[in-house]
């Protein structure tokens, strides 16, 4: 484990920002700290950097307890949410800052900065000030500044939050590729599930100061362990009583039944669908065009659920009656999440 947190606690006044936080990160991995705002993810990042001090617990980097080690001696690079570029310095001076502080050789600084400027694709803009750059360019400069002194660990606080949607997509891919190329252990904080799933090797999900689940994007998405994780990904809806839907196993003490849009099959009444016997009839409350799909809000068996419908199928209108079939649902009990498959799927005899 390259970075390790052991039973970290941190409070700001009455607010518990970290509650017994423990996890480990392997060298060379790219980790996403994912959670809603106020879940304590930024606090974790700032504690690893040494910008905040934990109330209790230990932080280890490369096997050494760093609690009492000055931030600048921890071998980290930090990319701030709003970049925090030095606004009275040029792009060149911003990137060279860390090296100059370390009193590196002048020729080396020149070479290193030139190398980084071409890495971030800002050749020719060395003499610009941050205010003369676009959001995406600033982000790249902040990244270059953070990695200039060759840190062993890179921390990024909401690296894409302040950039518009189109550039964000581009930057994500770029950052992912660049970090993989450099092989630097990185942790980034985000509240955006898509971003975490797309960019990270592993996701650490935080909620209310606690770590909910750690795993690869596929694991945390497909196999949520806690009630929070189950409801966090996707446009989830909750069933008031899942027993009203056909062919699901009965469980005791179920607190919530959660449905994601991809769990739902919607068909017009006159459309042929398999598993029709296990479908329920619902009524469409709302339709919203989402570009590549149409999002439907459907009232069925007393619950309101969201579903997607591809554009290649006949259009469904508001007020129309439809057949709704659920492939699977998540149910939670005592903060644990369980996947329930529709029994029809494993039972071939029900075919029509």
């Amino acid at each position: 484990m390259y970075v390790e947190l052991r039973d970290i606690n941190k409070s700001f006044g009455n607010f518990k920002a970290s509650d017994q936080v423990s996890f480990g990160i392997e060298k060379g991995s790219f980790i996403g700290l994912l959670g809603p705002s106020g879940s304590g993810k930024t606090t974790i990042l700032r504690m690893i950097a040494g910008l905040e001090t934990p109330d209790s617990g230990e932080i280890l980097i490369n096997g050494k307890v760093v609690n009492d080690i000055h931030p600048s001696k921890r071998g980290i690079g930090f990319v701030f949410q709003n970049y925090a570029l030095f606004r009275y310095m040029t792009v060149y001076d911003n990137i060279a800052f860390g090296l100059k502080v370390q009193k590196a050789d002048r020729k080396y600084i020149k070479e290193r900065v030139a190398e980084l400027i071409s890495l971030i694709g800002l050749n020719g803009l060395e003499k610009r000030y941050p205010s003369q750059l676009s959001g995406g360019q600033r982000q790249r400069v902040a990244f270059a500044r953070a990695i200039a002194p060759n840190p062993q660990l890179l921390l990024l606080d909401e690296p894409f939050a302040a950039i518009d949607a189109k550039v964000r997509q581009e930057l994500r891919t770029w950052l992912r590729e660049t970090i993989t190329k450099l092989g630097i252990t990185s942790i980034f904080v985000t509240h955006d599930q898509d971003e975490a799933i797309e960019v990270a090797d592993k996701i650490i999900i935080t909620n209310k100061g606690r770590v909910e689940q750690i795993g690869t994007p596929a694991e945390v998405y497909r196999d949520p362990q806690t009630a929070f994780t189950a409801s966090f990904f996707g446009r989830t809806s909750f069933l008031t009583d899942y027993r009203k839907f056909k062919s699901f196993a009965d469980m005791e003490n179920v607190e919530q039944a959660i449905v994601r849009p991809e769990f739902v099959k919607v068909a017009k009444l006159d459309e042929n669908i398999v598993y029709r016997a296990s479908a329920s009839e619902g009524i469409v409350l709302q339709t919203a065009f989402r570009g590549n799909t149409t999002e439907l809000t459907i009232e069925v068996n007393g619950s309101t659920i969201y579903a997607h419908r591809g554009l290649n199928h006949p259009e469904i209108k508001v007020g129309e009656k439809v057949n709704v079939f659920l492939y699977r649902i998540f149910v939670t009990s005592e903060n644990k999440a369980y996947l329930l498959e529709n029994k029809t799927l494993s039972d071939n005899s029900v075919y029509i």
């Binding site: 950097a49 040494g50 910008l51 000055h70 931030p71 600048s72 001696k73 980290i76 930090f78 701030f80 709003n82 925090a84 570029l85 030095f86 606004r87 009275y88 310095m89 800052f97 860390g98 502080v101 370390q102 500044r145 002194p149």
Partner: protein, 275 residues
């Protein structure tokens, strides 16, 4: 219709502003100058080069210099402390900084007389150490410092607050020392507010009358500052010298404003973001 409305409002507002500034500012200034030269250049020269006037001018400059020096250092530290750190009593400190502008200068003067004068408990100690404060130059400097001390910190606090602490944190993370952080990151940011604060502080320090009046004792040639000297001359019905001495204060004020504009001009030419 709407367009003519804003036209009228615009010119009315501009007109009122100009009229107000003319009556309240330009006219009195003009009067000071014409009154000063009423008896011609020779009389003016005589009044200005008078031994007591020269001494009063030097004392004013001395008090101003120390007040600005002290308040620059104090103002910077106070603004830095208030905006960059979280601590108990921060609200109290920011409120206390404002006291000099809310308390009447006369009362400020009296407070110092009571603190350092003959009635005071520390008077014998000061006496033993051979330090005179009341009715002496240190008292004047002290009063000037007191009256002007919010000027610089008040200019700096909003600017520092708006900047936040991210850039400093970024620099600290890369191992920069606090002196370097201040020089390379914080100071470039507050430069113009700082300059403006110094200008305000200097102007106010030179013109201070109330607190200094109580503490000075009006000893001509010893503890008389320019504003006090003007009052004495005026009370002695020496109108031309009174206005002539006033014109010195006006002149210094203009010089300060010109210097400030010049520095700002140079800053703008270098593409910097001036207020």
């Amino acid at each position: 219709m709407k367009k003519t409305d804003t036209g009228i409002t615009k010119w009315l507002l501009i007109g009122i502003s100009f009229l107000f500034i003319f009556v309240m500012l330009v006219l009195p200034l003009f009067t000071v100058i014409t009154e000063a030269f009423r008896n011609g250049w020779a009389a003016y020269q005589e009044a200005v080069t008078d031994e007591y006037t020269v001494k009063a001018t030097l004392l004013t400059l001395e008090a101003t210099f120390f007040a600005v020096l002290f308040n620059t250092i104090f103002g910077l530290f106070a603004a830095w402390a208030v905006t960059k750190f979280r601590f108990r009593g921060k609200k109290i400190l920011t409120t206390l900084i404002d006291i000099p502008v809310t308390v009447s200068p006369i009362i400020a003067g009296l407070i110092f007389v009571l603190t350092f004068g003959r009635q005071s408990a520390i008077y014998p100690i000061l006496q033993k150490m051979d330090i005179d404060i009341v009715f002496a130059v240190p008292g004047i400097v002290l009063a000037t410092i007191f009256v002007t001390f919010p000027f610089i910190s008040r200019e700096l606090i909003p600017v520092l607050e708006a900047q936040g602490t991210d850039e400093e944190e970024a620099a600290a993370l890369m191992g920069e020392k606090w002196s370097g952080i201040f020089r390379k990151i914080t100071f470039p940011h507050i430069k113009w507010a700082f300059l403006y604060g110094i200008v305000l502080c200097t102007a106010r320090a030179m013109g201070e009358f109330g607190a200094v009046s109580v503490l000075s004792g009006h000893l001509r040639g010893k503890t008389n500052t320019l504003p006090l000297h003007v009052e004495i001359l005026f009370n002695e019905f020496k109108y031309v010298p009174a206005f002539a001495v006033s014109s010195i204060l006006v002149l210094i004020a203009i010089v300060i404003l010109v210097i400030r504009s010049m520095i700002e001009y140079i800053g703008k030419r270098n593409g910097e973001d001036v207020r």
